[in-house]
Amino acid sequence: GAGVSQSPRYKVAKRGQDVALRCDPISGHVSLFWYQQALGQGPEFLTYFQNEAQLDKSGLPSDRFFAERPEGSVSTLKIQRTQQEDSAVYLCASSYPGREALAKNIQYFGAGTRLSVL
């Protein structure tokens, strides 16, 4: 696609409910990132994929958070048993990180999913 696509745009969940957020990266982009952005704050790193391999999940705040990218394209961020503190915008970004192009490795962001947990 022309850009990074995220769905849904908005999600309202009741506390304790499971949610799944989808990210469709730019076609051909190898790397995919998830960030969490609390209201009025800068985004914070959650996890990183290179193709289907999850190379870094150190930013996931708890074991309720799980991300996957089974075919190296679309990714899903799943949050189990949502809590009020999970309310945030979840941003996805993709990039093409070829070694020779590392200096030009730019992350392109989607418009995010705003999650509200009631």
Binding site: P43, E44, L91, A93
Partner: protein
């Protein structure tokens, strides 16, 4: 760990005037990249400008330029001839230069820029 600090939560500028947004960072790496992203109400992060730490020359993109002071670990953004469409939240971001350090971006807290007509 790397940290990025933006000390100006809000800034305002008159249309057609110039404004400078501040950013400082802390790192022990010698090779890294710095970015300014713009986030309008639509929430989509848009890259404004980037700077490679090994380059002494300050990056420039049309009306946007940076003042990169490596020794002081400072990376400010100057917007010249401000336009109404420049109004947004601006984030300064850092990325390490080595693949082993990861490709993640570390963001500052953001500066909300208002452009007054």
């Amino acid at each position: 760990a790397q940290t990025v600090t933006q000390s100006q939560p809000e800034m305002s500028v008159q249309e057609a005037e110039t404004v400078t947004l501040s950013c400082t960072y802390d790192t022990s790496e010698s090779d890294y990249y710095l970015f300014w992203y713009k986030q309008p109400p639509s929430r989509q992060m848009i890259l404004v400008i980037r700077q490679e730490a090994y380059k002494q020359q300050n990056a420039t993109e049309n009306r946007f330029s940076v003042n990169f002071q490596k020794a002081a670990k400072s990376f400010s953004l100057k917007i010249s001839d401000s336009q109404l469409g420049d109004a947004a939240m601006y984030f300064c971001a850092y990325r390490g230069g080595q693949e082993t350090s990861g490709s993640r971006l570390t963001f500052g807290e953001g500066t909300q820029l208002t452009v007054n007509p």
